[in-house]
Symmetry: C2
Subunit: 99 residues, 2 copies
DNA sequence: TTGAGATATCGAGAAAAACCGATATATCTT
DNA sequence: AAGATATATCGGTTTTTCTCGATATCTCAA
């Protein structure tokens, strides 16, 4: 877990917003319903909601993934992203005890 | 507590290092001993240890303070900085539950 | 196998952050 | 009042981040 990379990933309003949306995918991405929420939410859904371009959203999701804050699964033409709660828990503990 | 400002403040190696040093002032800033550790550590001590210029260290400490991660007390010609553990505890909880 | 749709990558311009040296301000000492 | 010391602020250069449009890649469907 690279703490500096994590903090950099969290240092952006749009990325924080995405992470927050992903806490409740069913609520925040109703358009995802027909494809299911098992694997997370696909890039297009996040793009549509964010107001950012597709390329920016894709890059942001990649950076969140590099930081370990989300995981992704490719299924067909879609890439699904979801939160990696283990990293959040570890980060919380890290701040409580190490930083 | 402005989470974005906090994460930005934490997105820098040198600032993370300073915060870490301030966890154990007696160990990391022996030069501070003759002035006491009650109020924290003065800018010059941190400057001396950091390898950065005085102006940069001053600015970094100010940014850490704006984020609420440290507090400062001016006493005579010195400004002492110390960690604000309440913010770290709150941040840890925030990550655990809200973000 | 061709076209359409979803995502990733690339190149670029604008904005912000990382530093620095010089200088200002504030305090202490004499 | 004048120097010395500690810290803060200012202006500038370099590096990084933000964000976009264009394009490439990958997969599905016809």
């Amino acid at each position: 877990m690279d703490q500096l990379e994590i903090f950099k990933a969290l240092s952006n309003k749009a990325r924080l917003q995405i992470l927050n949306w992903l806490k409740e995918p069913e609520v925040n991405f109703p358009g995802q319903a027909e494809y299911g929420f098992e694997n997370g939410v696909c890039v297009g859904q996040i793009h549509a909601k964010s107001g950012l371009t597709q390329s920016t959203v894709s890059e942001y999701l990649t950076s969140l993934q590099r930081a370990g804050l989300v995981t992704s699964v490719r299924t067909g033409q879609w890439t699904y992203y979801r939160r990696n709660e283990e990293t959040f828990a570890a980060l919380s503990k890290l701040i409580e005890t190490e930083i």
